[in-house]
């Protein structure tokens, strides 16, 4: 507990510091980043220790004479704290080079202040022990992240993003509040305590409200539509935090509520699983259609949240049909994917940030061949993309492996779980394939090949902090991927904290599998070394010539004849056209020798279309129809009063 306290003080101090000394720019940055990162590391260690020795920490103070601010740290909270503080640490480090412009130093100082508020509030969200603490931390998180999103406020798109984010986060908060209200009605206390005496319908109502509320923060389809606007708008280290960890608080909330209202509610798992499948597949499909690098990554957050939901949903189904293997391993997979996604998504956002920072171009179609000028960034981005595509020996694979395993173990059950497990496995397979396609596209188009339309400025690898932070994250990807055993064990601590009965059997199975995966990656490494040696031997003393790519007979290739991202993705998007309409406009030239061509395509988001057309517009229309009320004529106003009196007199 003392460790946490120290870290909170440090983070708070690190937040206040820039406001005091923003005039001395570099000093301010050094101090702030130093203190902030120290705070994050302290809390990180505290969380890890807590996870190794899970004893429940409790702390509560009286608040406004009636409420209490109470904090409970169990293994689940600690587990969620790890990615929050770890990623924040790296992101803060990264920001040293990213926020370099000393002209708007006040702005940067303020953004550091709100960053610290954001980190603190996220930590408090996962530590909150009762409703009011939770809501307070939640709302603080929302407002601070909103202000961080508005960093580049001059930009029209940023303003739109901020607006959308504000509205969605607030409506989500209201749904959560409603869920809490229903709980409070039936338990009569603000504390998070397990209440099994609720009737079934009430449980389902609570969970439904919570699912919408937390889902809109986590960004599940169709409540995700703020996400692809808000995350790209923010500066990259902020988007790393938002997309890496902040949306995970939604997951945390859902798991909390699930453990609160008693596990044995039927049907919850199915709903969660289906939500997960839909947002997983659609998220990656929409990502495939994007041109903006950061927006693409944002859509991948939707996809990965979908995968996490699939894991949790399978776990819930396991609980529902009392198949402990399925339950434990499913939850473990989902939770582990929370950490993994935090790592590689923030890594990818940082890579994208470096690209943006060096070239100033967001559009994938204009980039290309960046691996030569930016070798380290490119390699780290490659590792991140391998990890997010769930490819061994990297961390993304481990969690997907666990989810697969629990999905497969559901096959043995009767009708409904059988079909659901088939859905799980197949959707995971399809998501994996699509993610692979999408990230081969990103890496191949952005970092490989020739640059399509580049500014004349020479691009080179600058910024040690960029390199350090990205390399550190890539190492995490490898470590978790190659030595998963210990991490899986820690995850099981969190799973048992939820209340899932984790038996020694599951631990044994998982750790044997994990050890085998470790072995396998070693064998892979040795084989690769062998092949490498073979190749080295074969090429000894051979003449290696460098020439231009063979144009298949075409002799004067230019950079513009390369395959573009849209053309790479087009055939797959064709397949998904019904759910992912593509809006494209282009010029058709009449004459034989066309001078200039233009083709522009935009990936429509069917969730956005749905919400806009069938919820927002009708409400606005209905409300606009009533504007005659304030007609401006005083006679009418007097009439209102008279009418009110007459109507009310009938009720006496």
């Amino acid at each position: 507990m003392s460790l946490f306290l120290l870290s909170f003080i440090l983070i708070m101090g690190g937040g206040l510091m820039p406001l005091l000394c923003y005039r001395h720019f570099s000093l301010m940055k050094k101090l702030t980043i130093g203190v902030l990162s120290c705070g994050c590391l302290t809390g990180f260690t505290g969380a890890v220790l807590k996870l190794f020795y899970p004893v429940k920490d409790m702390f509560s103070v009286n608040y406004l004479h009636f409420f209490t601010i109470s904090i409970k740290i169990d293994a689940l909270s600690a587990f969620f704290m790890i990615p929050i503080l770890g990623v924040s640490f790296v992101a803060v480090l990264y920001s040293f080079d990213y926020l370099h412009d000393s002209k708007n130093r006040l702005k940067i100082g303020v953004s550091y202040f709100f960053l610290s508020i954001l980190i603190l509030s996220m930590v408090f969200v996962v530590m909150a022990g009762n409703m009011i603490t939770f809501m307070m931390a939640w709302e603080l998180m929302s407002i601070s992240s909103f202000l961080l999103v508005m960093y580049d406020y001059e930009d029209k798109t940023t303003q739109k993003a901020g607006f959308l984010y504000f509205v969605f986060t607030h409506i989500g908060a209201f749904f959560i509040l409603a869920a809490f209200g229903v709980i409070y009605t039936y338990t009569g206390s603000f504390n998070f305590e397990i209440s099994n005496n609720l009737s079934l319908t009430i449980k389902i109502i609570i969970f439904g409200l919570a699912l919408i509320g937390f889902g809109s923060k986590a960004g599940i389809f169709p409540f995700h539509i703020w996400l692809p606007y808000a995350h790209p708008a923010a500066p990259s280290h902020i988007s790393a935090i938002l997309s890496g960890v902040m949306i995970k608080t939604g997951i945390y909330g859902i798991i909390r509520i699930y453990s609160l209202i008693g596990m044995t509610t039927p049907g919850l798992g199915t709903v969660v699983l289906l939500f997960g499948v839909i947002s997983g597949i659609l998220g990656v499909v929409y990502a495939l259609g994007q041109h903006d690098l950061k927006k693409l990554l944002a859509y991948h957050s939707v996809e990965n949240i979908g995968i996490i939901f699939i894991g949790i949903g399978v776990g819930m189904i396991g609980v529902e049909y009392s198949n402990t293997t399925m339950a434990a391993i499913g939850f473990a997979g989902g939770l582990l994917h929370v950490v993994n996604h935090a790592i590689f998504k923030s890594l990818l956002f940082m890579g994208a940030g470096v690209v943006l920072h060096q070239t100033g171009i967001r559009s994938i179609e204009q980039l290309g061949g960046l691996l030569k000028p930016l070798p380290i960034t490119g390699t780290c981005f490659l590792i991140g993309s391998l990890a997010i595509s769930g490819i061994p020996p990297l961390n993304g694979f481990i969690s997907e492996f666990l989810i697969y395993y629990s999905g497969f173990s559901g096959i043995r059950l009767n009708e409904i779980p059988f079909i659901l497990s088939i859905v799980t496995v197949l959707s995971l397979a399809i998501i994996g394939g699509l993610a692979l396609a999408c990230f081969t596209k990103v890496v191949g188009i952005v970092f490989l090949g020739e640059s399509r339309k580049m500014p004349k400025i020479n691009i080179n690898e600058t910024g040690t902090c960029f390199k350090i932070s990205m390399i550190c994250l890539s190492c995490c990807c490898f470590i978790i991927g190659v030595f998963p055993e210990i991490f899986i064990r820690l995850t099981f601590q969190a799973v048992s904290a939820i209340g899932i009965p984790v038996q020694i059997v599951h631990l044994a199975t998982c750790s044997t599998m994990a050890r085998n995966i470790t072995w396998m990656s070693f064998i892979f490494a040795t084989l690769f070394a062998g092949v490498f040696a073979l190749r080295f031997f074969l090429y000894k003393g051979k003449d290696i010539r460098i020439s231009s790519t063979w144009g298949c007979g075409f002799t004067r290739p230019s950079a513009r004849i390369q395959y573009t991202g849209s053309s790479f993705a087009s055939s797959i998007l064709q397949f998904f056209n019904p759910v992912a309409p593509l809006k494209s406009n282009y010029t058709v030239s009449k004459n034989l020798f066309p001078k200039t061509w233009m083709y522009h395509s935009e990936q429509m988001d069917s969730g956005e279309i749905f919400i806009m057309s069938s919820i927002v517009r009708p409400i606005l229309l209905l409300f606009d129809k009533q504007r005659w009320i304030q007609h401006g004529d005083i006679h009418l106003y007097i009439g209102y009063i008279l009418l009110t009196i007459i109507v009310l007199l009938f009720f006496v």
């Binding site: 504007r627 304030q630 007609h631 401006g632 004529d633 005083i634 006679h635 007097i638 009439g639 009063i641 008279l642 007459i646 007199l649 006496v652």
Partner: protein, 213 residues
């Protein structure tokens, strides 16, 4: 004595109907004056004992309601050079009919709350309600801003009718309150109207529609 009260009350009702149906500003003002005098006189016939205080009070009241305020309005009308017509939004016959409807509603209300328990005239409450609503109706359905003031005065008359039906409690304070209400209200409206008249050189409220959404 109550017969006289009944007669006066019915006269008030009559005046209400005439106000609703009259098409000339001057006539309207005259009717209001009449009504004022009537309702300030009426209290004499409620309380069995008619002390000096009551009489004095009645005289003062009728002075203010029956003479002072009408004259004030009269001056305002002259000063603003209003054409004599009232320009109703709802026509005179319709207004008259509405007045009759209001009487029915008032009777319904009067049935609902009876004042017999405190020995009050059964005709009083319906009359009061009618006067009140007619006043609001007048303010609602006449274009000229000055007619709003007249309607407001009529409302106050209605409220006064209810007020004087109470004997024991805080009688004079209520009288005072209502008086203050009428006087200051009318004054203020007069001032504002005067300003408006100076700025818009007309007080047709149809001009006052710029503030809306």
């Amino acid at each position: 004595m109550t017969q006289i009260a009944d007669i006066i009350l019915s006269l008030v009702l009559l005046s209400v109907l005439f106000c609703l149906s009259s098409s000339r500003m001057m006539i309207l003002v005259k009717w209001i004056a009449f009504q004022g005098i009537a309702i300030s006189m009426i209290q004499l016939f409620f309380h069995q004992q008619t002390g000096f205080a009551n009489i004095a009070f009645a005289i003062i009241m009728s002075g203010i309601r029956g003479i002072l305020i009408p004259i004030f309005i009269y001056i305002a009308v002259k000063k603003m050079g209003i054409k004599r017509e009232i320009e109703p939004i709802i026509g005179y016959h319709a207004s008259l009919f509405a007045g009759l409807l209001m009487m029915v509603f008032a009777a319904f209300i009067g049935k609902k709350f009876n004042l017999h328990s405190i020995g009050s005239n059964p005709l009083l409450l319906p009359t009061a309600i009618t006067t009140l609503m007619a006043g609001m109706f007048l303010a609602m359905t006449r274009r000229k801003a000055i007619t709003m003031v007249i309607g407001y005065i009529m409302m106050e008359n209605g409220i006064y009718l209810v007020g004087i039906s109470l004997t024991k409690h805080t009688h004079f304070m209520i009288e005072f309150g209502i008086l203050l209400d009428v006087l200051v209200g009318v004054m203020l409206m007069g001032i504002i109207l005067n300003n408006i008249n100076r700025t818009f050189d007309d007080i047709d409220t149809t001009l006052l529609r710029s503030l809306k959404d």
